[in-house]
Every structure is written in C-alpha cells, then in structure tokens.
C-alpha cells in the first residue's frame, strides 16, 4: 500500500467516526448505518463473484437467513444478542456449506441459475412457513444488541459505531485475504479454472471455502440489519435485494477492494438525491448497470485503477533481484 493510500484510508475512517458528531441529523445517520450494512453484504458477494468469478444470485437468501436466524433466536428463543449473532453466522455458514457443496459443481450459467433457484426457495420457505417465521406478517420486536459491560447500543449513534466496527473488520479481513496467497489462488480460479487446477490448486476446496465465507458475511449483514431495523419481512430474501447488491458492486467495481464502499455510497446518496424517482430508480440504475458492464466492467474503481496503471506503465521499473523486492503495484484499488 502506498503512503497516499494509507493516508486516504485513515482520513476516510476518521470521517466515518466523526460523521455522527458533525451531522447531528438522525435521518442521515440512519441512512449511513444502513449503507454500512449493505456494504458488508456487498463485500460478501464481491469475494465470491469478484474474486472467484462465481455469480451467486442466492445471496439475498443468505442475507435473509442471517437476519431471520438472529430475529428468531432473540425474539422466539429469547437468547442474548451476542451468542445469537454468533449462532446466526454459524447457521448461515452451515447452510452455505451444503448449498456450496452442490452448487459449486455447476459452472457459469448453471451456477447462476442454480443459485437463483436456491435464493427463491429460501424466500418461499420464509414466506410460507408462517408458524416459524410469521410469514408475510413479518418478525417484530427484534432487540438491539445487548450491552457489553458499560457499552450500550440503544441509541442510534452507538448502533452506527457498532456497524462501522463490523464494516471495518470485514474490510480488513477482505484486504488480508485478497492480498495473500489465498487471494492469489482465488484470482487464479476466476481467471481460468482449468489452468488453476493444472498448477496444483484444488479448485473445489478453495471455491467452497470462499462460498462459505461469502455467505457468512452476507449473513452478518443480514443479522446486523435485523437488529438495526428491528423488523424483518420475507421481502429481504427477494431477488430484488440481490439485484441491489449487484448494482452496488458493479457500479463500484467488482473484484476490487474499495468497490463495495464506493458503489454503495454513491448509489445510496444518489437515491436520496433522486427521491422523486423512488420506485423508478432502476430506470436509471438498470441502464447504468448494463452500460458499465459493457464499457467499464470493473466499475468506477476499476476504471480509476487502470487509468493510473497506464500512467505508471510509462515509467516502468527495471527488475531488481534482491531479498527485498519493491512492493508490487497494488492492483486492487
């Protein structure tokens, strides 16, 4: 990471921390918190779709599983928030494991269609299984996170910081995964599964690992959503949610580290600006999605990265064979 990037990241974190203090506007803080929750979910999708190339359309389902697990555990089983959160992630992960085990045997179109159907099954089950999920009536009265010692999460501000903490944690984990040998392995799989396999990579094992992590992160996002909004309905598992995630991801930049943040913020802010569009916002974002994938398949971040790379390429470094090699150019923004 270059010095400029380091500073930029610090400034951004600082901005996020002081945001509730300067804003003082509950509505904005609420919107920001929601955006952070979406970002977490988008990171989950990004790890899978962006780094291994498997487009999962079941992620709204896993988001919903996380949300409903937490909701049911806290409301119906009256569990404490924190063990319930942990258990929700485990539940999402276990379901993710079995779905991944089967779905990852399929490829490309089949995988997309398969996961689309899995997502729909999850949605239908939540919608129809009244006795457990309360069906269309929705699940009401999900508690805010329980206190940790003196820390309470009853106020909007404290909830904001809690979600921010999880977001930063997810970003850190993503950064480390992507910039490790494991991350290189996933990119190799995305690039060509055949080639990856012939250089000794167990593609199934790696894909399944990514799938599970990716669903757990989607589940975390869902669980945080449930405890923040306090009310969930089957709609959170609908395909529309996965399409929202995809739009955020694509606009920001699929397969880039900062894409989920850039895309989500941009679209959430734009949607706020375009309030009058509301239900019709897809009138704008639908074509944007299509145009982006044609002209800037790696979104805003991808476009910026390739632009700076081109500039750098003109001043290319000679190779130095020494113990300490120059940090390779950070390819992911």
């Amino acid at each position: 990471m270059s010095k400029v990037q380091r500073i930029a990241i610090l400034v951004l974190i600082l901005l996020a921390i002081i945001f509730p203090i300067i804003s003082q506007n509950d509505y904005f803080i609420h919107v920001m918190t929601l955006s952070f929750i979406w970002m977490i979910g988008v990171y989950g999708l990004n790890l899978l779709a962006g780094y291994t190339g498997y487009l999962s359309l079941a992620h709204a389902g896993f988001f919903a599983i996380g949300a409903y697990s937490l909701g049911l555990l806290t409301v119906k089983a009256e569990m404490n928030f924190w063990p319930a959160l942990l258990l929700s992630l485990v539940i999402t992960g276990v379901i993710g494991f079995f779905v991944g085990l089967i779905s990852l045997r399929t490829k490309e179109h089949f995988f997309a269609i398969y996961t689309l159907c899995v997502g729909y099954i999850i949605y239908l089950v939540i919608d129809k299984w009244d006795s457990l999920t309360e069906g269309v009536r929705g699940l009401i009265g999900i508690p805010a996170p329980a206190n940790i010692g003196p820390l309470s999460f009853e106020t909007l501000q404290s909830h904001y910081y809690l979600v921010l903490f999880f977001l930063l944690l997810v970003v850190l984990i993503m950064y480390r995964i992507v910039h490790s040998l494991s991350g290189r392995t996933y990119i190799a799989i995305r690039n060509s599964e055949d080639l990856a396999q012939t250089i000794g990579i167990s593609t199934m094992k790696n894909k399944l690992t990514v799938f599970v992590i990716s669903t757990v992160i989607a589940g975390l996002s869902g669980a945080l959503y449930a405890s923040f909004v306090r009310f969930i309905g089957p709609d959170i598992g609908s395909i529309a949610i996965v399409f929202d995630f995809l739009t955020y991801l694509l606009v920001g930049g699929i397969g880039t580290l900062s894409g989920p943040i850039v895309g989500t913020i941009l679209i959430v802010v734009l949607s706020q600006r375009l309030q009058f569009l509301q239900d019709y916002r897809m009138l704008v974002f639908g074509p944007v999605l299509t145009l982006l994938i044609i002209f800037y398949p790696r979104g805003i971040v991808g476009a910026v990265v390739s632009w700076t790379q081109k500039r750098k390429a003109s001043v290319h470094q000679p190779i130095i064979r020494a113990k300490k090699l120059p940090e390779e150019q950070v390819k992911e923004g």
Binding site: A49, G53, L55, I102, S103, R105, T106, K107, E108, H109, F110, A112, I113, Y114, L116, C117, V118, Y120, I121, L124, V125, K128, I239, F243, L246, T247, L250, D279, Y280, R281, M282, L283, F285, G286, P287, V288, L289, T290, L291, I293, I294, P297
Partner: protein
C-alpha cells in the same frame, strides 16, 4: 376423477405458456449461449403492450397481440444489437449482469408507464364451454390451441425453411456456420426477434387468466430456466416437453400436495437435477 382431468387440463394450460416462454429462452441460448435473464421482462412487456393496444387504442385482441409480437420482437433485437453483441467476447459473468440490468430497467419502466397495480386483461373469449361434462373457459382452450399452433409453425419454420435451418446450423456450430457463409449477426437478431415474439404471445395468452403487473415475468422466467435445464439447454423439443412436464407437476402438486408450495416444485426439481448432473440433463459430453 373429474378433479384429476380438470387439473390435467389446467396443467396443459400452464404448460403451454411455460413452453412458449422456454422456447424463446432456449433458442437464444442455443444460438448465443446467453442465459437471457431479461427474457421475463420481455414477457412482461408483451402483456402490457397487448393490454394497452386493447384498452387505449381499442384494437381487437388478436390485432393487439400482433402489435405486441412486433414491438417485443424489436426490443429483443435491440437488446441483441446494443448489449449482447458488444459483449460476445466478454467473460461469461458479464452478459448475465447486463441482462439483469435490462430486466431492472424494463420492470421500472413498466411501473413508471403503467403503474405498479395489478391490471386485468379483457378477453373476447370469456365464455364457459362444456365438453364431456367438464367445464372449460374458452380462454384456457384458446391458450392450449394457440400454443400448439405456434409451436407447430415454429417447428416448420426451423425445419423447412432455409432461414430456419440456418438457426439450427448456428446453434450446433457457430464457427462452422460462419465458415459456410451464414450471416451470424442476422441469425442472432432473428433469433432474438422470434424469442421476443414468443414471449409476447405467451404473456398475451395467459394475461386474461392471470394478471398484468410489472413483476409478472419473474416467476415465469425462473421456471423457464428450470425447463430448459430439464429439457437440455438449447433444445427445442426439450423446451416444449419440459414446459408441459412442469405444467402438469404444478397443477397436480397444487391439488394433491400443497397449494402454498406449488411454486417451489420447479426449483426443487432443478436443484435435484443439478445436484445429480451438474451440467444439466441431456448435456453433450466432453469435448
């Protein structure tokens, strides 16, 4: 027994609609290897255009359907030209996302123009007929008959005309088709035209017994995907057969298992198929 026959007929009606939608999807897949997620939106557009032609411009049902076929066919061609054609060399994830973009746009567009509420389509064939002591609505009979006629015409077109056989040739071997001088661009556009037209017919036929609303294509397209995986991606007879199989299983499932979960049958079926055969039924082996 009467219930069974009634349900079998219902299955036949639903199956006819499914088959028509799946046919369009499978043709496009066969030619361009694109799983067109926006196909459901074409179906929805078809429903709305027929409805508008009838209610706003007072066209007769059949004339309205004809206009709808043309318009949706043209939308299909535009999609091919401006979206899928530029993406033909891109990684496979791209065309799927592009299609989703189109889908989102068209749904928002429909909501913007025609509103979010459910609308019913009038039909000149509302009367009830009695055959062998069973009651059928004319519209349902019409769906079955028209669908079968359309399928026969399509099969004749693909088998007996030169243009039709180029579509078959191209779906079997794209490079080969290019080599023997088939204009692959023209064939691709034509296929999208037909595919859109079929979706428009299916929607216009089924709308009077269902309803017209912006999300009306979502469930249908999902099921159409299940059907073409069931019948073999790109296979024409497979799409027809698969459509009817699903139609029958749904109507029987709704009666004898659970009406609540009838929509899940298709997806469970698909999950089972792909779990056993990850490349779908009837896929061509190795290369």
């Amino acid at each position: 027994m009467e219930i069974l026959i009634q349900q079998l007929f219902n299955g036949m009606t639903i199956g006819s609609v499914y088959s028509l939608v799946a046919l369009g999807l499978t043709l496009v897949y066969g030619i361009l290897h694109i799983p067109n997620f926006a196909h459901g939106a074409l179906y929805m557009m078809g429903g709305y255009i027929t409805l508008t032609m009838m209610t706003k411009y007072g066209l007769h049902y059949w004339l309205a359907i004809f206009v709808s076929i043309l318009v949706v066919g043209v939308i299909g061609v535009l999609m091919e030209r401006f979206v899928f054609h530029p993406l033909r060399e891109a990684p496979p994830i791209h065309d799927k996302i592009a299609a989703i973009g189109i889908l989102l746009f068209l749904e928002a567009f429909a909501q913007f123009v025609w509103g979010a509420e459910f609308q019913s389509m009038p039909t000149p064939y509302g009367q009830v007929v009695q055959i062998f002591g069973l009651t059928f609505t004319m519209q349902r009979l019409l769906i079955v008959i028209s669908a079968i006629v359309v399928m026969i015409l399509l099969t004749l077109f693909l088998k007996k005309t030169f243009t039709g056989s180029t579509i078959i040739a191209m779906s079997q071997n794209r490079e080969g088709a290019n080599l023997v001088g088939i204009n692959t661009n023209r064939v691709a556009m034509l296929t999208f035209m037909i595919s859109g037209g079929l979706a428009a017919i299916a929607a216009s036929l089924s709308a009077p017994i269902n309803l017209v609303f912006p999300a009306m294509g979502q469930l249908v397209i999902l099921k159409a995907f299940v059907i073409i995986i069931l019948g073999g991606m790109g296979s024409v007879p497979g799409a027809i057969l698969g459509g009817y199989i699903l139609g029958f299983s749904e109507s029987l499932g709704a009666t004898y298992i659970s009406n609540d979960y009838k929509d899940i049958i298709a997806f469970v079926l698909l999950v089972l198929i792909l779990s056993v055969k990850p490349t779908g039924l009837f896929s061509k082996g190795g290369h």
